[in-house]
């Protein structure tokens, strides 16, 4: 099993969710996060004082999949989250040792 983690632009979330459902993904977890890559941040001005905000808001998606599903899921995220502009985010895949469904106690791929 694999954990696919994607950091994407917040306004792309609906497209990414639809694309993932289209390739058979049953569930996902998301977190609102802040970060920076090459895009860097922006300036904000409050009452005449200027502040550098290095961290920009992003959505972090986590999806647990069977091994064979990892590549199509990654492809779905990449094609749906891309705008071609700097700051589109990253996707990475990590191996997962164990998954348990809390309600039933099922283990492994049955729990996905």
């Amino acid at each position: 099993m694999k954990l696919v983690v994607a950091v994407i632009k917040p306004f792309k979330l609906n497209e990414v969710k639809d694309a993932l459902q289209a390739v058979g993904v049953q569930g996902m977890t998301l977190t609102e996060v802040n970060g920076f890559g090459r895009q860097r941040g922006h300036t904000e001005v409050y009452r005449g004082a200027e502040y550098e905000i290095d961290f920009v808001p992003k959505i972090r998606l986590e999806v647990l999949v069977e091994d064979a599903q990892a590549d199509p899921v990654v492809d779905a995220v990449v094609s749906s989250a891309a705008t071609g502009k700097i700051g589109d985010g990253k996707v990475w895949v990590v191996p997962v040792e164990t998954v348990v469904r809390v309600r039933t106690g099922e283990r492994g791929e049955d729990a996905l």
Binding site: T43, E44, V45, Y46, R47, G48, A49, E50, Y51
Partner: protein, 530 residues
């Protein structure tokens, strides 16, 4: 209740006018809402999240402390009928001609402190040495409550200067003391019929007495306290601009009561004051946002800049509201806001402004805005804007106010009250009177605030918190945070109603008080099987 035999009880005495009384209490309530929640929400929202609860608590406590002091002793200091020294006696200014100005000043300096909690004190007809021409048409309590809400908002304004380091206990001492020794005197000399009122200085609703005094006092208190932590100064980021908008909006429209209540009569000048107040404010908002958009480094209009402009417009028109015409109100809004914008942007880089950590910049948006608003009255005061006129019959048979010009040409039975500024009279006399009063209010507010802060520091072993507390903020001072996360909280120990009472009533589980185990839910539904 006992009535005289045969007498029909009437709900109010003959001197009372229900329209005046109703508007005065309604206006006072608007002004009270400006403090709580208006200013409280605005100030809590435009600061860091870590200080929001502290700001809320300071506002609630400050507001409460002022009213208690107000009815027990300080109302009569500002608005009492008799002054210490006897320059003003039983509501009459005993004009002391032929005495030196020092004697004149000190005999007309502050009212004799005293309570107004008796039935006569509360329900008797209001009297004040400031108003000797037409009697008030409402009871003392109406005037006392109306003036209380002004007294209350004034120290609350400078909470924005001192937050982020003042001890809560120091604040709770400062507010009633400041209200007594600074506000009592400032209010008496300008509004209570004291020295500067007798000399001819004018302040419609508190450009000097409230805003300039609050700005100067906050600045001095901030200087005595020393700056906030470096980290806080570098991160003075608002935590909620929507709530800032809510607070600012209540402040703005509450000002209809602030300036609309000050004629004391629900008449024509009240309506003029309300409209002028809004005109100047709109002009202020547009001016500040425009200056942000065209003159700031970033060349962008900002919302919080609009709020600053709103405050500048409101504060600027406060000393002028019912005494300038609509065009004058727009001039005041634009000029006052532009002056404060430049001061905010450039003067803030110059000593002593660059050396004092006035957290929200109250010295600019209230101090400087109030000063110039009061001076602009000396320029734009329109003699035809009559606060208390003399009635005459027009051709339609209605009683209307007589303008100064008509008055001069026709009847001369009494003098209508209006203000003639430089633009109309060609004389700088009013401007000069305004200037003298401003100097006094600046001097007195600064001096007494300095002394009070030093005294409070001595009594409390320092008026500011230690750095360990300042690093944490709300949690360290109040054990509260502004947006508590319920899932993270687990109840320990007793105290407070809620789950404890629930268990004692025998409805809950068998866990003893102390909450080692949370009680099971009552009538829990079927297991969620999804």
């Amino acid at each position: 209740m006992v009535h005289l035999l045969g007498a029909v009880p009437v709900p109010y005495p003959s001197w009372l006018n229900t329209g005046d009384n109703t508007w005065q209490i309604a206006a006072a309530t608007f002004v009270a809402l400006q403090s709580i929640p208006g200013l409280m929400v605005l100030y809590a929202a435009i600061g860091q999240k870590k200080w929001a609860v502290n700001m809320l608590a300071m506002m609630f406590a400050g507001f409460s402390l002022v009213l208690i002091a107000w009815v027990l002793w300080s109302y009569k200091m500002g608005f009492g009928a008799t002054s210490v020294g006897g320059g003003v006696r039983n509501g009459v200014q005993t004009q002391l001609t032929g005495v030196g100005w020092v004697k004149h000043l000190f005999e007309n300096f502050v009212g004799k402190p005293g309570g107004i909690t008796s039935s006569v004190g509360e329900e008797g007809q209001a009297v004040s040495a400031a108003n000797t021409v037409i009697p008030f048409h409402f009871p003392t309590d109406t005037l006392a409550y109306f003036q209380f809400v002004f007294a209350a908002i004034t120290p609350l304004l400078f909470a924005g200067s001192v937050l982020g380091r003042i001890k809560f206990s120091a604040w709770c001492l400062l507010v009633p003391l400041w209200s007594t020794f600074v506000y009592g005197v400032d209010a008496f000399v300008l509004w209570g019929g004291g020295y500067f009122a007798q000399e001819g200085a004018l302040d419609f609703s508190g450009g000097f007495v409230i805003h300039m005094s609050a700005g100067v006092s906050g600045f001095v208190a901030a200087w005595v306290l020393g700056p906030r932590l470096l980290r806080d100064r570098e991160h003075t980021i608002p935590n909620n601009l929507i709530l800032a908008g809510v607070g600012a909006g209540i402040l703005w429209l509450g000002w209809n009561g602030f300036n609309g209540g000050d004629p004391y009569y629900a008449g024509t000048d009240m309506a003029a004051a309300v409209v002028n107040t809004n005109l100047a404010t709109c002009a202020g908002v547009i001016t500040w946002m425009g200056m942000d958009a065209w003159l700031s480094k970033q060349r962008k209009p900002t919302f919080l800049g609009g709020v600053n402009g709103m405050i500048c417009g409101l504060v600027g028109i406060t000393p002028c509201a019912g005494w300038v015409n609509g065009r004058g109100a727009i001039y005041v809004g634009v000029i006052d806001t532009a002056i404060v914008w430049f001061a905010w942007t450039y003067l803030s880089k110059v000593r002593p402004f660059s050396k004092v950590d006035d957290a929200y910049g109250v010295i600019y948006t209230h101090g400087i805005a109030g000063l110039f608003g009061g001076l602009l009255l000396g320029i734009f005061g329109d003699p035809n804007m009559i606060e208390y006129g003399c009635g005459h019959l027009n051709s339609a048979g209605q009683v209307v106010n007589t303008s100064a010009a008509t008055y001069a040409a026709t009847t001369k039975t009494c003098t209508p009250f209006s203000v003639s500024g430089l633009m109309y009279s060609g004389s700088a006399h009013q401007l000069w009177e305004q200037f003298r009063a401003a100097l006094f209010v600046i001097f007195w507010s600064a001096l007494i605030t300095f002394i009070l802060m030093k005294l409070i520091g001595l009594v409390l072993g320092g008026a500011r918190y230690k750095d360990e507390i300042l690093e944490i903020g709300d949690l360290a001072i109040h054990d509260e945070e502004v947006m508590p996360e319920e899932p993270f909280a687990e109840r320990v120990g007793g105290g407070g109603p809620g789950a404890g009472g629930f268990e004692l009533a025998g409805i809950g589980g068998s866990a003893p008080p102390g909450f080692e185990d949370p009680p099971p839910p009552v009538g829990s539904g079927p297991e969620n099987t999804t």
